[in-house]
Symmetry: C2
Subunit: 436 residues, 2 copies
């Protein structure tokens, strides 16, 4: 299919796993893309650090350059695609592009979560499009629905499994009873975990995505620093077994919620931590390295978006979708909905977030133990939902699940329990989500 | 929050369950909507058949009119919202609006599935936006992702549960072992089924949605008449039990698929019928009256969209999302991506669709029965995947699951089996999907 219109010209920054796939799809689907856009796409340059490196497919070597900034500044570039990642120098390249009115398509979650405001400001200044569907949950069309489909509704809560590595590990622990270390080894072997898995297992990756999701859902600028973060390295095989007994499974969740703070003002709470959820919850059956995001909105009710959250090809699919949108906008002289941050809601600290705890205690098997323990909960105004007690010789195990209470009260309760003589040890503390 | 820009003016056609909710949300979220759009929305008229009828909420009676066409023609109307349903007179109102350059937001799946082409042509003629997110799967943002997020990818298959009534009935049969009649009675009592459930249980509603989904997914005009349709009234408690034994559940699915036809040409097959799917499939756990659509694309891989497919408030949420998009486009002088039907793929008849069958036969318990039955399958070039045989007295039951084969071959096989002396009766024939 041919088109009489001049080509929309693309500059690609980065040519790793995702970039290579973007180039491949641009070639393979050139005809379809031209038909959908109404003009052909032309890749005019690819900025990489090592132009001589072997890359999949046959990419014209003349396209490679090491001068990313020079490529961005070229007059004949319409759309800049950034799949390098990291804060700097990507930030300066994208500011340069946006300020000059070039459309930007980026998969850079770290940059958006740390300093999205600067990019949005540059986009406003240059009257340019900033697309970043690939930054959260890979191929799942998620940001566009949040940005556009639900903008007549009010989102109240977003609960997501947004990190494939940790979901693979937790799914495997749930299926086999393995401990964290063993499951991590398996994930590394199969290529689901990187050599240094810190960003994944400590929740940094999920926290960046949580910040982006919360910003879109609540029309409020949220950065990674605003997100309470707790990794999942502390989740044990015993925790997983205990969750099973309760009809639950453990997932690393990102949770973004709007609601009144302690003084009654509307505010936003954003957190990443492992939590038990009931097996009947739609998120519970999200296995392997899949991602899913569960959205609750006042009018729409419950929605869920599910798919592959990572990988070169799925991420490239999201990048391509954004390229087409940006190219169509350029041809029609229009722009995507720009940043919507009008709500300016304050961030609520984790201490004020209402959560539920599952606490497992090894206690001395004496009369009055339960009364003493229950007294500690009452002192902090935490209401107990269920208690299971099982004795063995002189010890007993108490498994307590609370009703919802401010996280600070729950944390203080656990601190107090720790100091009790009759409490031999606190075997586990896990948050509980999803209406168990 | 105020705005200096003049209001975007809305005309509402219809004020039933969905319309009333649209009006309520427009009032309740006026401030948010103004902020998101950059200008206020103003409802200037509501066309209804009986203006005096009692409606929820306090709607200004001066807004009501019985003259829908007159309202659509008013010079001061920017966006026409149609929630009346049915083919005529809705068609003429929307053609009038679009041709005159007014944006249209509609939830009218029947009209879009029967004659979407006429509406798209009118939209092109008037350079007007035609939005219809609410027409398929209620509140689930599904059309926008298909239309926009995946337009850099190639969708290969869409498998959906798009009718809440039948999903409620089948979920209930699966959970309780009830028969169709009993489960339908329950659905009617709880308000999930209408007094005349034909459109739902016979698959007409799902077929209309399938046509709309297939059109978007494959960039090809598909109408309801192109969709092979088989209702779910024939699904028995025994079928459900048999599915359970196989680790499956039965769902009424709409399936739209692209692929080569018998002569090797790329084509589209669209069908609605009950089918067994494995319990491990993401669609299997979609319970109650929820909807979900499972999308497979070449680059994105597997995606699923889940949520409430019906109900006044969820549908109104989708309508509001479209109103905001249409209003923003008007303010910025832009348009949404228009219809994309460049692929013009031919429709493949059901006989050529490759499916799998689960067939349960009551046969005489004689030597050689299996050989005779297997011979019939071989004659029609249908390969058998599994056979289970269970005897009781002089009768035996054969449960046969086939490999994939053209539907025509499978149908001919069943016809031939019916004429065999040794086959006492064919207890059930069900298609099998989702890679069992």
């Amino acid at each position: 299919m041919s088109s009489d219109k001049p080509a929309v010209r693309l500059a690609l920054l980065g040519c790793g796993t995702v970039g290579t796939e973007v180039v491949r799809l641009l070639h393979e689907q050139a005809e379809d893309l031209t038909a959908r856009i109404g003009a052909p796409l032309e890749l005019v340059g690819i900025a990489v650090r090592r132009p001589g490196r072997q890359r999949g497919g046959a990419i014209d070597p003349a396209l490679f350059t090491t001068d990313a900034l020079g490529l961005v500044k070229r007059d004949d570039v319409d759309v800049v695609i950034e799949v390098v990642g990291g804060i700097d120098p990507a930030r300066s390249w994208l500011i340069e592009a946006l300020s000059a009115g070039k459309s930007v398509v980026t998969a850079n979650k770290a940059l958006l979560a740390e300093d999205g405001a600067t990019l949005h400001d540059a986009a406003a200044e240059g009257n340019a499009d900033l697309y970043f569907e690939a930054a959260v949950a890979g191929a799942i069309p998620l940001l566009r629905p949040l940005r556009e489909s639900l903008h007549g509704d009010r989102v109240t809560r977003v609960t997501g499994i947004v990190n494939g590595t940790t979901n693979f590990i937790l799914s495997s622990m749930d299926a086999t009873g393995a401990g964290f270390g063993e499951a991590l080894d398996e994930a590394t072997e199969l290529g689901y975990a990187e050599a240094d898995p810190t960003a994944d297992v400590e929740g940094f990756d999920a926290a960046a995505k949580a910040a982006i999701l919360a910003s879109l859902a609540f029309h409020t600028r949220v950065t990674a620093a605003d997100v309470f973060r707790e990794g999942m390295t502390g989740v044990t095989a015993a925790d997983v077994a205990s969750a099973k007994e309760m009809g639950c499974t453990i997932k690393l969740l990102c949770i973004a919620q709007r609601g009144p703070d302690s003084t009654g003002n509307e505010s936003v709470s954003v957190r990443v931590h492992p939590a038990m959820i009931p097996r009947s919850h739609p998120l519970a059956s999200v296995g392997d390295a899949f991602n899913a995001v569960f959205v609750e909105a006042e009018a729409a009710g419950q929605l869920m978006f599910y798919g592959r959250g990572a990988g070169g090809t799925p991420t490239a699919s999201a990048v391509l979708g954004d390229i087409v949108a940006a190219a169509r906008n350029r041809l029609s002289g229009t722009r995507a909905p720009s940043e919507s941050s009008y709500a300016h809601l304050p961030i609520r600290p984790i201490g004020e977030a209402v959560t539920r705890y599952h606490i497992s205690l090894d206690v001395a098997d004496r009369q009055g133990v339960l009364a003493t323990v229950a007294g500690v909960f009452a002192k902090h105004e935490v209401s107990i939902a269920t208690v299971r007690q099982s004795g063995r010789d002189e010890d007993a195990t108490l498994v307590i699940v609370t009703h919802g209470a401010p996280d600070a009260n729950l944390a203080a309760t656990v601190e107090d329990l720790r100091s009790l003589d009759i409490v031999r040890s606190i075997a586990s503390v896990l948050r509980v989500e999803g209406g168990v």
